[in-house]
């Protein structure tokens, strides 16, 4: 077994393992926002690992370049979609996206009017 094959196997196991952990996390977590924390790495880290395995196997041939393109597209669009989903979930929950008064930090909250 050559160094290249070991690297390909390691990257492949890493990518598939990360995807598996993210799937289990989405299955187990009870809240949409907690689930979104697991949807993030599945769209960024796992494709990079799998693309790395493809590049180690194929070098930068046509297949390697296309795999890099897929990883770049997923790395750019995945976090944007995750953020949009979280924003939509919050708008459905509260009716707007702005912070609630109880979520504001103490120093940013408006001071109480002086008592007369």
């Amino acid at each position: 077994m050559t160094i290249q094959e070991i690297g390909v196997a390691a990257l492949l196991f890493a990518g598939v393992g990360i995807a598996l952990v993210c799937c289990v996390g989405i299955w187990v977590m009870p809240d949409t926002y907690d689930q979104l924390h697991f949807a993030g790495p599945a769209t960024t880290v796992a494709p990079v690992a799998i693309t790395g395995a493809v590049i180690l196997e194929e070098s930068l041939s046509q297949a390697g370049v296309k795999a890099v393109l897929v990883a770049v597209v997923m790395g750019v669009t995945g976090p944007a979609l995750t953020h949009a989903t979280g924003r939509a979930a919050r708008i459905r929950e509260h009716g707007h996206f702005a912070a609630l008064p109880e979520e504001m930090p103490a120093e940013a909250a408006p001071a109480d009017p002086p008592a007369r």
Binding site: G15, A19, C22, C23, I26, T32, Q35, L36, A39, A42, T43, A46, P47, I50, T51, V54, E57, E58, S61, Q62, A63, K66, A67, L69, V70, V73, M74, T77, G78, A80, L81, T82, A84, T85, R87, A88, A89, I91, R92
Partner: protein, 56 residues
């Protein structure tokens, strides 16, 4: 919303499965399928997000 998260995750997994199938069957043309699916799942996810945010 949890179902939408699951749908997005399924799209992501499908893209990675297509990548691995293209490499496994040694068909470089199949990488285009993964690329098109990645773009379309993003567009479809944004449309679903907009619908769920406003109307449903």
């Amino acid at each position: 919303m949890q179902r939408l998260v699951a749908l997005e995750m399924a799209g992501t997994l499908d893209v990675m499965v297509l990548l691995l199938l293209a490499q496994g069957f040694d068909q470089p043309a199949f990488y285009d399928l993964a690329l098109v699916l990645a773009l379309l799942s993003f567009a479809g996810g944004l449309v679903f997000v907009r619908f769920l945010e406003r109307w449903v």
